[in-house]
Symmetry: C2
Subunit: 329 residues, 2 copies
Amino acid sequence: MARIAGVGTTTVSRVINGGDRVAPEMLAHVRKVMEELGYEPNQAARALKSARSKTIGLIIPSIVDPFFAEFASVVELMAREKDYAVIFLTSHDRAERGMADLKILERHRADGLLIVPPRTGSKALLDQLTQLGVPVVAFDRPLIGRNCSRILCGNFPAAEIATKHLIDHGRKRILVLGGDPRLHTIQQRLEGYEKAIGEAGLEPIIEMDASDYASAEAAITRRIKQKGGIDAIFGLYNQSTIRAYEVLQNRNIRVPDEISLIGFDDFALASTLRPSITVMRQNITEMAQTATRLLLQHMNGEVTSPQQIEIEAHLIVRQSCGFHGATSK
Amino acid sequence: MARIAGVGTTTVSRVINGGDRVAPEMLAHVRKVMEELGYEPNQAARALKSARSKTIGLIIPSIVDPFFAEFASVVELMAREKDYAVIFLTSHDRAERGMADLKILERHRADGLLIVPPRTGSKALLDQLTQLGVPVVAFDRPLIGRNCSRILCGNFPAAEIATKHLIDHGRKRILVLGGDPRLHTIQQRLEGYEKAIGEAGLEPIIEMDASDYASAEAAITRRIKQKGGIDAIFGLYNQSTIRAYEVLQNRNIRVPDEISLIGFDDFALASTLRPSITVMRQNITEMAQTATRLLLQHMNGEVTSPQQIEIEAHLIVRQSCGFHGATSK
DNA sequence: CTGTTAGCGCTTTCAT
DNA sequence: ATGAAAGCGCTAACAG
């Protein structure tokens, strides 16, 4: 490149990096030659010399989950604006897989890392994170045992709001349907539910196993048949909400007349189903933007101390709670 | 690293690359030191020297679309098995954005590329692809104007099967709902529909604009009201199917009794909605595996000539077509 | 079987 | 304002 332009490599380097301290006509000349050749600087060489790969790692449990997909989408958008490429890795929510991911990022000398910690945490993973030696921002779940920045949804207050919404409209027998109890998000949501239930003097009705349709059906049936029955269901995450919906449909239970339904997490067809489903919607975009911005700030030293930021979720009232269009307080 | 283990760098290099031509005890020793140090070879240096970045590029219109998300998921899985990292970029279906993506991959010296061509093709993009100079495999859509491998869904026969399914069960007034006509996939599906309709001696009823709810509603309403009406709708892609579903729901038209519904593309809640929706399901996993495998083969020279492979889609019969459980031919 | 050496393409002093 | 030269960590001859 330098040879063809008839200049020194130093000059080319200066042009690549913004063109400071280069004579205007020289700058124009080199830029023109670059253009003609379609020259792109070799990132490997730059990385080797400068110890900055211009790459960030993104570790998520799965890219098929719309929640993580939206996260990834925002990350890619913001990273490229700052000239970072993103290497994406899926952990399938397993610590060993996450560790393999970290090895890959270490080889590629990623400059920073956004990670949704696998639900099965492990000491070994934390150690390897330390070894990586680059800024890390945890997303959606805290990285327990490591003092790094975290961007979370305000799960506790959101669950409280959702539960209160049902209570304020006269529901008294509210079943909360889990949720992997190992997940911080699920724990927080459950606690929010319990707080609202407790303050209203109601009895908590908790079923944590809705891991598939059969268990969701068993749990709901059991609670319907017990003394007092139930008049509402609060799904702690999208899958349990969907399963509750299916169970109610299949048993021909009228929603919301007989049983109100409200879910945590919005999902594509929540508004298409009939009845449409009332949900607490996480502000994924803002969570993702905040996380990416923070990581970049950590990477260039603008922020050094770990931050913990919670982003509010919002209630989207639809038909399934039964108070759609009603004058809600 | 070499210093600490008390050996030459060549030996370390050999160990990294499999340990051939290294004495067994030496190999064990070096491996042990590596382990203790948590040493990972610097990929930037290896890339610089070997001109192979061990990185592949993945350009998709959007990661939020479940179809592309599943594609990405499979790519990541297979790439990491062969020790490749994947840099993922979204084109938002725009050629200029795709070109920016290619620049990024060129800087990072990606060894290969999987791309879903933006719907607005462009000569400039093809040129830049040539300039990249690495194996390319097109996914889902052909890269028109460039003779490279492509993995597509068998859209034509699949649309024919879907249409025939309706015809074989007595439907005669079948509305086909588009679909960006610039997309190769949509064109092929439309042609499949037309073939089946033509062979049955029926009249094609085509509405290509279902780009939002309002246009879908206008199109469907128009066709319902016209002489003869319609007795079935074939959605050419998931969004038009969902919109058709919503329109029918909102107009209290009984599905499938009054109008049958069948869609191209399966989607998460197609089985949850009531009635559940009959669809042609693309075999995304197999498409993705085939594409990734083929790219890797191109990269290591096992395959040199461009391949064109179409993967069959399959009919998933649910309730919305009206022939669920019925004895279908 | 193992080490010495010369670059890969950049960035970065240090001269000029 | 520009260039010469050293070196980032690795691989690939080539010697020994």
